[in-house]
């Protein structure tokens, strides 16, 4: 009964009595061939509301907001703006009506300046000079500092997002859509964003907020609409729900809980990095400076940090994509391997899963069996006297499919035809099946839905339990808290001392991710004690 009432009245506190919704979708449907990306979705957005849009990958969230922003035309149904039905010819019409959007994958131009990027998002009615002045003004008012003359490639991810937000705000929107805005931010940066959003709400604007982070939604949002498989499941008040109940609605069932094996034993050091420094090999790269850590068998070390602080460079140095001058900087199972090629390192029992699934982890247009061969040829008996053992490569695919529940249309499809989550399960599975002594994995569950993420995390825990050393780089602190024994933070090419996971609070990690050191705080603590 209670649930029924919540469905009828999305805002039980009766905030909107007497007003009409700012934006309303009625039976909004988008069809791609036979596939229904959105199946008659009804959503009401009210002024002064932060409205969460929740759902797994492929639930139809992006399609819905693209339709509202005029990027795609709905196949059926209508959009009502302030009570009137509208048909948007494109984003510029949406913007002129007062609908703004901040994209998940930023719609920025790396080689243009901040001011030029902002100008491109506006209608160009004011002169460039006036626009630049207004840009500085708006960024000051909302506490989002920006230098209009810098080119985007020089900026951090947080600064890039600021451009997007300021660009949207400069149009004075009544309604702002944010697509996973905190996915790339440190906890402190996210807190600053929430202050801005609360302020926008207080100014009478409406916000549609897409996020995977349920705790964040509970904290920030007044209303939540949950999509699953292109259909609307429910509209509810997230403050009256638990994270678990929201997750259930998103997934349509219970999510398998990830469990570490009890009494995991750590053994000898299997991956040791000694004072590794490496100059960047490209214009916008990060220099690695004096990185040292020791990783024992049976242990999972997590590396946190905002993207672009040297994680990619560290991965390249560990995997052998880039060679170190001094062989002793990377030691795999007691053998100095800093100067070894990728293949030689694999033969020592190391395995690597890069962040980018398509293009780095797999060759997109090659079959899964061929992709299995590409990383397994040196150490998995798939090649005999220079000839490929096709049966063995197919067997690897079948094993990975079975063990890790990879869902695909046929036995051996092209890598690019798999969904992100299934391809990630295959790539992780391909390496784990080789029974590696050391596994280096970067962003194991990035852009993967909750079900697949649980499978992958469990597999990493099981691998460690079997005695392997596992190094996980991730921007998802919850993930690291769940699986890692110790967590270190990368900032500007340096790696912090690892903290035991139970001591690694979000505050501490957030400080390290922002480049602060923990010492002053601890010193103060010591004085207090």
């Amino acid at each position: 009964m209670q649930a029924y009432q919540r469905m009828l009245d999305p805002t039980p506190n009766g905030l909107h009595s007497g007003e009409s919704p700012l934006l309303r979708t009625v039976g909004l449907t988008k069809r791609y061939g036979d596939f229904l990306a959105n199946d008659s979705i009804d959503v009401d957005i009210w002024p002064k509301e932060i409205h969460a849009l929740l759902g797994e990958n492929g639930a139809g969230k992006s399609t819905l907001v693209k339709a509202i922003y005029g990027l795609i035309q709905p196949s059926a149904g209508e959009i009502r703006w302030q009570g009137d039905q509208i048909v948007l010819s494109g984003p510029s019409e949406a913007r002129s009506r007062g609908i703004g959007m901040v994209f998940q994958h930023f719609s920025l131009f790396d080689n243009l300046t901040v001011a030029e990027n902002v100008a491109l998002g506006l209608d160009g009615k004011e002169s460039f000079k006036d626009m630049s002045a207004r840009l500085e003004q708006v960024s000051k008012i909302y506490g989002l500092p920006l230098d209009p003359r810098r080119e985007v490639w020089q900026l951090s991810v947080g600064e890039r997002q600021r451009i997007e937000i300021v660009r949207a705000l400069m149009q004075d929107p009544k309604f702002l859509i944010l697509d996973e805005p905190t996915a790339v931010l440190t906890p402190q940066e996210a807190d600053q964003l929430f202050i801005v959003l609360e302020r926008l709400k207080a100014e009478g604007r409406a916000i549609l907020y897409i996020s995977h982070k349920l705790e964040e939604v509970k904290r920030l949002c007044d209303t939540a609409t949950i999509l699953r498989g292109g259909k609307k499941i429910q509209t509810c008040n997230p403050r009256l729900e638990t994270a678990a109940s929201l997750a259930r609605m998103m997934v349509g069932g219970e999510i398998r809980e990830v469990k570490a094996a009890a009494g995991r034993q750590t053994t000898i050091p299997r991956l040791v990095v000694n004072d590794l420094s490496l100059a960047p090999d490209e214009a916008h790269g990060v220099r690695l400076e004096h990185i040292s850590f020791e990783l024992k068998g049976g242990e999972i070390l997590g590396i946190a940090g905002v993207a672009g602080n040297g994680q990619d460079e560290l991965f390249a140095a560990l995997s052998g994509e880039r060679l170190a001058k001094d062989p002793g900087t990377v030691v795999i199972d007691g053998i100095a391997a800093g100067h070894f090629s990728i293949t030689k390192r694999r033969k020592l029992g190391a395995a690597f899963v890069p962040e980018e699934r398509l293009g780095h982890g797999t060759a997109p247009r090659m079959k899964l069996s061929e992709n299995a061969l590409l990383t397994g040829h040196a150490a998995s008996g798939m090649v005999h006297r220079g000839f490929i053992d096709t049966a063995a490569t197919l067997k690897t695919v079948d094993q990975a499919t079975e063990t890790f529940d990879v869902r695909k249309a046929k036995r051996d499809p092209e890598a690019a035809s798999l969904s992100g989550g299934n391809l990630q399960k295959f790539i992780v599975g391909r390496e784990i099946l080789r029974n590696p002594a050391v596994l280096v994995v970067s962003q194991p569950t990035w852009g993967v839905d909750a079900g697949a993420a649980a499978v992958i995390r469990q597999a990493l825990l099981d691998l460690a339990a079997a005695g392997a050393a596992v190094l996980v780089t991730s921007q998802d602190l919850d993930e690291l808290a769940e699986i890692a024994d110790r967590i270190a933070v990368m900032f500007h090419g340096r790696l912090s001392e690892p903290l035991a996971t139970r001591d690694a609070t979000r505050e501490k990690l957030g400080l390290l991710m922002g480049g602060s050191s923990l010492e002053p705080k601890e010193a103060a603590h010591a004085v207090g004690a």
Partner: protein, 305 residues
């Protein structure tokens, strides 16, 4: 004195078609499209330009014929590479092959005919100044136009909103589309501008450089224009340097060969390429950072609708 003046004049004449064609290609590539068909568009422009002038007796109409012919050729490219999202490299190469054949067909009737070439400016007093007079005030209209063109393109790219949008399309077409810009329409226009320039550059050859048409008379200038755009790192200022440098070394090495310098002629013929590559590489070393090539160059874009 006379010789120096003659050399400078011939350098300008040799550089002008390169500059015009490369300017067009620069705009095309800045929008993110790699059109390798410059040679083909030029040679068709040369045949049609000569045909127009021969039939009407007007250099201006000949130049217009060349521009239109180049533009029509580029529309074929736009239809294939932008409309149908065919691989741009393959389409551009095919366009060159088509152009070479087509120009032979069009020009077959004109081979051996002569026209009165484009007249040169003459301002009494100014043009008669020794050394610089004819260089500055005695050129044909094409030379002045080419300089106005590159300045105009620079102004357009860096000082107008339309130019900013064009550069944005070349940097990231997904973002440009997400912001609501008609990427394919903008690119089609840029390709057409490139075609018009290539056609005009081709027409310059029979209308001003040599007053007759012979098949294959572009002799690889289209390819050089393409290379100039790359070596100039897609910047108009460097393009001017590159085009004139290439023209200058071409003419100088011809004179040097005439004077009997004891260097093998094959090496001398290679000198313009070598000099241009070295100078433009040195220039681009001084860059401050960021990507030089338009990031989306040569990539296929299909908007999701």
């Amino acid at each position: 004195m006379e010789l120096v003046e003659a050399i400078i004049l011939s350098v300008l004449a040799a550089s002008t078609p390169l500059l015009i064609a490369a300017t067009g290609e620069l705009v095309t590539e800045r929008s993110g499209v790699l059109n390798l068909g410059v040679e083909g568009m030029m040679i068709v422009g040369a045949a049609c330009g000569f045909g127009g002038a021969w039939l009407t007796g007007s250099i201006l109409i000949g130049a217009l014929f060349g521009i239109i012919a180049g533009m029509l050729m580029s529309l074929i490219f736009a239809l294939m590479a932008l409309g149908l999202a065919v691989n741009q490299v393959a389409t551009g190469l095919a366009l060159t092959i088509l152009g070479v054949g087509l120009s032979g067909l069009i020009g077959a009737g004109f081979v051996g005919e002569r026209i009165t070439p484009a007249i040169h400016l003459h301002i009494p007093g100014l043009t008669d100044i020794p050394l610089l007079g004819r260089v500055l005030f005695g050129e044909d209209a094409f030379v002045y136009f080419s300089i106005a063109l590159i300045i105009g393109v620079w102004w357009f790219l860096y000082r107008t909103r339309a130019g900013l949008i064009l550069r944005a399309c070349g940097d990231n077409h997904v973002s440009a589309h997400a912001l609501g810009y008609p990427v394919l329409r903008i690119r089609t226009l840029a390709v057409m501008f490139g075609g018009a320039c290539a056609g005009l550059a081709g027409a310059y050859l029979p209308l001003a450089y040599t007053p007759f048409f012979i098949p294959g008379m572009t002799a690889g200038r289209g390819w050089i224009a393409l290379a100039l755009v790359v070596f100039a790192s897609w910047r108009p200022g460097r393009l001017v340097v590159g085009a004139y440098l290439f023209g200058a070394v071409t003419i100088l090495q011809l004179h040097a060969q005439g004077w009997g310098v004891g260097i093998p002629s094959q090496f001398m013929s290679a000198l313009p390429y070598l000099a241009t590559v070295i100078v433009l590489v040195l220039l681009s070393r001084a860059r401050t950072g960021g990507s030089t090539a338009p990031a989306a160059l040569g990539t296929v874009f299909v908007p999701d609708r």
